[in-house]
Structure formats: C-alpha cells, structure tokens
C-alpha cells in the first residue's frame, strides 16, 4: 500500500469510528444508566465501571401501572395493525391491479392520513371521543392509529402487489378462482414478505406513538410512551428508572427492526425506496 492509500484508509476507519460512537453512544449510555446502582447515578464524573444491578427494572416492574401500560401498548399496537392489514390489503391490491378513474386521487387520499399532522387529527378525535364516552379507552386509540397505519399498508403493499406478475392472477382465474379467491389463495402467499414488513412497521409506529395516546387516554388506556414521559417531572427525575423504562419500550421494536431490516427502509419511505 502506498503511504497515501494507507492514510486514506486510516482516515476512513477513523470516520467510521466517529459515526459508530455518535450513533451508538446514546443507546449505550441509556443501557448503562439502567443497570447502574442508584447511588452512582448522581456521581460526576460518571462511573463507567461498576457492579451492574437490576434494581431499576425491578422498581418499574413492581409498579402495576407499568404492567397495565405494557398490556395497553401491546393490545393497541396489535389490534390497530391487524385492522389496518385486514382492511388495507385488499385496497392495496385493487390500487395495484385495477384501472379506474380517480385511482391516483384515492391513493393520495389514503396517504394524506399518514401525512396529516397529529394535531389536526387529534382535536376532532378528542372531542368526538368525549361525546361518545370513548376517552381513555383502547378502542379510540386503535381507531386513531388505524388512520396512519392504513396509509402504510396501502402504499407499501401496492408496490409488493405490483411486483407479482399479472399472469399469476390470470392463471388462477382460468383455473376457476373468483377474483377474491385468486387474491387470497394465490397472490397473498406470494407477497408474504411484504405483509410481514407492513405488519411490523405498523406495529412499530403504533407502539412508539405518543401524542394521540397522551391526549386520548388518561389512566385506563395509557400506553408505554406516555407512561415513560410521566417519569420526568420538574422536581425529581429517577433517571435509573427512566432509562430502564426506555430499554423496556425499545427492545421489542429493536428486535423487530433487525428482523425486518431488509424491508425496513422500504416501509419507512412508504415503498418509494427499495
């Protein structure tokens, strides 16, 4: 290697190291704080090496409110994902296969639900839910999350369906399947990876959502992000508990993200980038 090439390579690895440090450090620091004994947390300069403890995890899991929030998050994210998939998948198929006037306008209308600022959706949801007595229920959150999950399902799966050759549908129709039969028995199994990706991305967005949950719920249906935000008060913050809660909220979606990393970008960009 020439000296110039060697220098280039050293600089490159240096840049990579800086990138890894910048993006990795906050996560590392959160995990470290979550296992740090409570006495060491206020220490400055910070303690880097210590005997790890699970006290903070024990403390948060001893709160029944946390377990209830965990359950709420799970139910709301799952139900909303399933609802969006069941209703959105056929629509995505129709947009990929059929030609009709106003198709692009319809697709755009679905998308606007994902693009609308949460504040514009929350206000009427809040007032309507208040009239109907649905405030602080999981049902209203499920419906609210379906507004954006729906757009994700429709736009992402439309691309996946478009990749299935039309001849496959035709063959199924010739073999005596109905339109719907061809869709369910032949096309859907072929787009399984897309369905899984869409499901996981909907789940992640719903699991992480904050503003809807903050306004539409209070005690009964409170989800994890709202619970975590509640750990921060002006007077005293239990940083150890907070970091432990952050880890608990983060780990499930982190696992999902790594499992679907091949489709994650496609999902995040609504199918625009593969």
């Amino acid at each position: 290697m020439t000296p110039a090439a060697r220098l280039r390579s050293v600089l490159k690895y240096l840049a990579v190291a800086v990138i890894v440090l910048f993006f990795g450090f906050p996560i590392f620091w959160t995990v470290l704080t979550s296992i740090k004994p409570i006495g060491l947390i206020p220490q400055m300069p910070p303690a880097w090496i210590f005997e790890p403890t699970l006290d903070h995890y024990r403390a948060i899991f001893n709160q029944t409110a946390l377990l209830a929030s965990l359950w709420n998050s799970l139910v709301v994210a799952t139900a909303s994902t399933v609802l969006a998939l069941v209703v959105g998948t056929p629509a995505a198929y129709a947009l990929a296969r059929f030609h009709f006037r106003g198709k692009e306008e319809l697709a755009f209308y679905f998308l606007t639900a994902r693009m609308a600022p949460p504040m514009a959706v929350i206000l009427p949801f809040f007032l309507i839910a208040r009239e109907l007595g649905l405030l602080d229920t999981r049902l209203i959150l499920i419906l609210a999350y379906t507004t954006f999950n729906f757009a994700i399902v429709v736009w992402l799966l439309r691309g996946f369906f478009a990749e299935v050759p039309r001849e496959i549908d035709e063959a199924a129709l010739v073999d005596g399947c109905s339109r719907f039969g061809a869709f369910v028995r032949v096309v859907l199994p072929l787009t399984m990876p897309g369905l899984v990706a869409a499901a996981i991305i909907c789940f992640i967005f719903s699991w992480n959502e904050f503003l809807f949950a903050l306004i539409l719920t209070n005690i009964q249906a409170k989800t994890l992000p709202v619970m975590a935000a509640g750990f921060v008060t002006d007077r005293l913050v239990l940083w150890g508990n907070l970091c432990a809660a952050a880890v608990v909220i983060y780990v499930p979606v982190m696992v999902f993200a790594l499992l679907t990393r091949r489709h994650l970008i496609r999902g995040m960009t609504l199918g625009a980038v593969r």
């Binding site: 990579v16 996560i27 620091w29 209703v87 296969r97 009427p124 959502e209 625009a272």
Partner: protein, 295 residues
C-alpha cells in the same frame, strides 16, 4: 386478462373506503365546522359562530409568527443536517470496508426508537448537572452548558436529538440509491479517466437525485408533524424558543382549550403539509426505477 369491472374494484375497496370515511372524513368535517366557531372548552359558554375570524387570526397572531420562525429554523436545521450527514455517510459506506454490513444494520437502530424515548434519553444526556455531555465538555476544558434551558442552545439541542434519530434514514436511503447505480456506468466513468470524486459528483449524485428529493420531502413533512421530542425535552421553552407550530397548536388546544382557533390553525397547518405531500408523490413518480403499475 378478463376485464375488470367496477364491481370487482368496489369489493376490494369498499371496506377500506368505509373505514377511512369513518375515521378521517367525519373528523375532518367536524374540524371544519369547529374552525368557524369561537368555543372555549374550559369556559361554560356555548360555541358561537364567528365566520372566518379564526383563520384571519392566524395571519395576525404574533405568537404564530414567532412559532413559524422557530419552525422554519427547526425544520431547515434538522433536514439540512440530516441530508448532508446522511449523504456523506452513504458515500463513505459505499466505498465498502470490513464490517460495513454489520455497522449498516446497527445504524437502523435510532430510527425505530420512539421519539419520546429519544427525547427522554437526550434529556438525560443534556442534563445540566448530571448529564454526560457536560462531563465531556468539561473534560475538554470548556464551561458546562444548560443545554435545554438556555434560549440560545435549547432549539439546537433538540435539533441534535432529531439529527441523531433520522440521519440514519437518509443514509440508508442514499446508500440504497448508490448501490443501484449500475456498475457498468461506474466502470465506464473510470475508463474515461474520472477520479473517485468526479465519479461521485458527475455520475452517482445525479443518479440518486430523485431518491434524495423523496427523502428530503419525507423528512420535511415528518419534521413539521412531530412535536414529541419538543414535548419531553423543553415543552416549548425557554421563552417559546422551541415552540414550533405543531407544539404551539397543541398548547392552544389542550392547555388553553381554544377549540375553534385550534381547529382553524390545525387546518391551515394541514393544508401546508398536504401541499408538501403532493410534491412528495411527484417525487415518487420521478424515480425511474419504479413502476407502480407492474407490467
């Protein structure tokens, strides 16, 4: 292929359209009606019809002008930094090195974190007394800062948290674009005597332009929409220096319960974003690689 009747399309679309009518059109109509009324939820008075007053207020309200200034800075800073950094990292990673695939997957991690959690952990890092950032700053011989309560630093601190979370998306999108540049094209550029920099500048950058445009619009829209980080990091403070439009509207609605005003402002805010979304769709179509219609 047998011709598809409208009936077929309806069977597939009817459930979707009816659910969407229920959960988007009815709230929208309700918001529209509200926006013409003066209605404070906290005061025991009936809503009063005020015509376009709420809309007109938007353009004369000094608080809104302040919020728009903050928003413009926040969005420009976030999206600008994310684009520049994300593209730079993409070009770096495109050259390939040992361990590149592993590091690439690790960089997925920040963007799937709940933005509330991102806000909270950065609040811990930025903490004035116990925060690790001040520890680093002090060990470099600089004075510690009150990152989130100093009017000059608070907004920049929130920007940093957003840059941390979303630069990886820009990076991964750009990298996907760079990987899709045909190797023959790169080879012929090399044969023509182009240096690495020239190849990137004249061949790769134009090739990924549509993808950059898409991610630029996507980030701009999401930056305008989400206020979660601001909510948990600064709550709009100090002195309104981090109160972006979305957050300001949140306060009007759910702290001051000005329902009519909030509805009107939210609709204006939404119109702005829909306009950007229109451009986004156009950018999707620009991407030569894709074809929605299949064959």
């Amino acid at each position: 292929m047998p011709r598809l009747s409208l009936r077929d399309a309806l069977i597939f679309l009817a459930p979707a359209v009816s659910v969407m009518l229920l959960i988007t059109v009815s709230p929208f109509v309700y918001t529209l009606i509200l926006s013409f009324q003066d209605w404070n939820l906290a005061a025991f008075r009936d809503p009063r019809f005020v015509g376009l007053d709420n809309y007109l207020r938007f353009f004369t309200d000094p608080d809104i002008r302040q919020a728009l200034r903050v928003t413009a800075f926040y969005v420009t800073a976030c999206v600008g930094l994310e684009l520049v950094l994300g593209m730079a990292i993409a070009f770096l990673f495109d050259t390939g090195f040992k361990g590149e695939p592993v590091i690439r997957s690790l960089l997925l991690l920040p963007m799937v974190m709940s933005s509330v959690v991102v806000g909270l952990i950065w609040r811990w890092i930025f903490n004035a007394e116990l925060g690790v950032l001040n520890h680093f700053v002090v060990s470099l011989g600089l004075p510690p800062q009150t990152w989130l309560t100093d009017p000059n630093l608070a907004l920049a601190s929130v920007v940093l948290a957003d840059v941390w979370q979303w630069t990886p998306l820009v990076f991964l999108v750009c990298l996907a674009g760079l990987k899709a540049v045909p190797s023959e094209t790169l080879e012929s550029a090399r044969l023509d005597g182009a240096s690495w920099w020239q190849t990137q500048w004249y061949v790769c950058l134009p090739a990924i332009k549509p993808i950059i445009l898409t991610v630029l619009l996507l980030r701009t829209i999401d930056c305008l929409r989400f206020v979660d980080k601001i909510f948990v990091m600064t709550y709009g403070g100090p002195a309104g220096t981090t109160s972006v439009l979305g957050f300001h509207i949140y306060l009007m609605g759910f702290k001051f319960f000005q329902m009519g005003l909030t509805a009107a402002y939210a609709l204006i805010y939404m119109a702005l974003i829909i306009l950007l979304a229109r451009l986004l769709i156009r950018s999707f179509r620009l991407q030569a690689t894709r074809d929605w219609e299949g064959t």
